[in-house]
Symmetry: C2
Subunit: 195 residues, 2 copies
DNA sequence: GTTAGCATGTAAGGAGTTACATGATTTT
DNA sequence: AAAATCATGTAACTCCTTACATGCTAAC
């Protein structure tokens, strides 16, 4: 509890290291491949973040494997500790605004595999209402302003609107799938107890 | 040249005030309607920005109109100065990476009406190659990593990929339109000189 | 008469980036 | 032997947000 980084990088790092131990350079590449369409991190933020996580005991330097030992130093491989796993779980459990805002939703979704079904649903629904608020605000503003906008502004808004509506449809499908899965899980449970 | 704000807010403010004088509160609402689907600014950044622009002589406080005078003070209306118009033109003329990155492209596009046709084309093309780089990097990474990803990660990447491809198609259409317009403008010119 | 919205501002801080500095290792 | 890429790190800075502080005005 020393570093209090609280950004989205912390989650990204902990989540990545949960899959497999990695060194900084490789970690960054993975992250930027995983999230390439949404954002990219620089070394200038990654290394200090790793330092902080190390300091807090969430990760440790792994003793190098036999085949990497001789001669070549450098390459500091980090591994998640038990405290780190706990911390990651804690981060993945909170389903608040910080989970469905633009900057963080992508990373949250990327680690849905490790997120509880209930939390997944609340995050998807939170994201959806966030976007719907945006659509409502836009439509309200449209009726309020009786101004003629130029064609570029109009085209920008049309495209933005379409993008958001498209994401809402995507979320609808995901939510349906999650709900169906939840029902199936429940009936499985019942079947078992009914036997 | 004192403030050196250099952010995207400066452009947004100068661009908005170029259309019509406004006070801070109203300015923010307009901006957040105009760019609502992409981003939103807070008062905490807007007011200091206005202060800086005022200090640099890019904007001035307008003497209140007769109908706003009596009783009610507050409401500081800002108007673009000649220097401010020059500064705006300067900002709108530079067609570098700062024009087609994620954070700034939307605002740049929103003020395309005030941007030269040539610069418009270069920004649209710059944005497109930026996105195509992203697509290439992704596809390269795909062939490199022979790892099985979980369904959520896969779904995230699929959606991200589709979003970017969709924007590229949108840009293609815009570029075609711009090019056609440029040709038409040129032939108009020729017709006139040919007479 | 109190809530909601209009209106302006500041101080502290967050979450990153850029640019720099350094060196090992692999490829050409 | 030069160039590219792998690898780690820091200091200064940027741009913006959050939270706070203040007061007016309109609507219910």
């Amino acid at each position: 509890m020393t570093g209090s980084r609280g950004g989205v990088l912390e989650l990204a790092v902990l989540g990545s290291l949960h899959e497999t131990p990695l060194h900084g350079y490789e970690l960054r590449k993975r992250l930027n491949t995983l999230l390439g369409m949404f954002r990219a991190f620089s070394y200038g933020s990654l290394y200090p973040c790793l330092k902080g996580l190390l300091n807090d005991g969430y990760i440790i330097e792994e003793q190098p494997a036999a085949d990497v030992v001789l001669g070549r130093r450098s390459k500091i491989v980090y591994r998640l500790t038990a405290e780190g796993k706990e911390r990651l779980e804690e981060l993945l459990t909170e389903a608040g605004p910080s989970a469905w805002e633009d900057e963080s939703f992508g990373i949250r979704f990327a680690f849905f595999r490790h997120t509880e079904a209930e939390v997944r649903l609340r995050i998807l629904e939170g994201r959806r209402s966030r976007l719907e608020e945006r659509l409502d605000a836009f439509r309200t503003a449209l009726t309020r302003t009786r101004e003629r906008l130029d064609s570029y502004t109009l085209e920008l808004q049309r495209h933005g609107l379409e993008s958001v509506e498209r994401e809402v449809r995507w979320l609808n499908e995901l939510i349906d799938t999650e709900r169906a899965q939840a029902v199936r899980d429940k009936s499985d449970e019942t079947d078992e107890t009914d036997d």
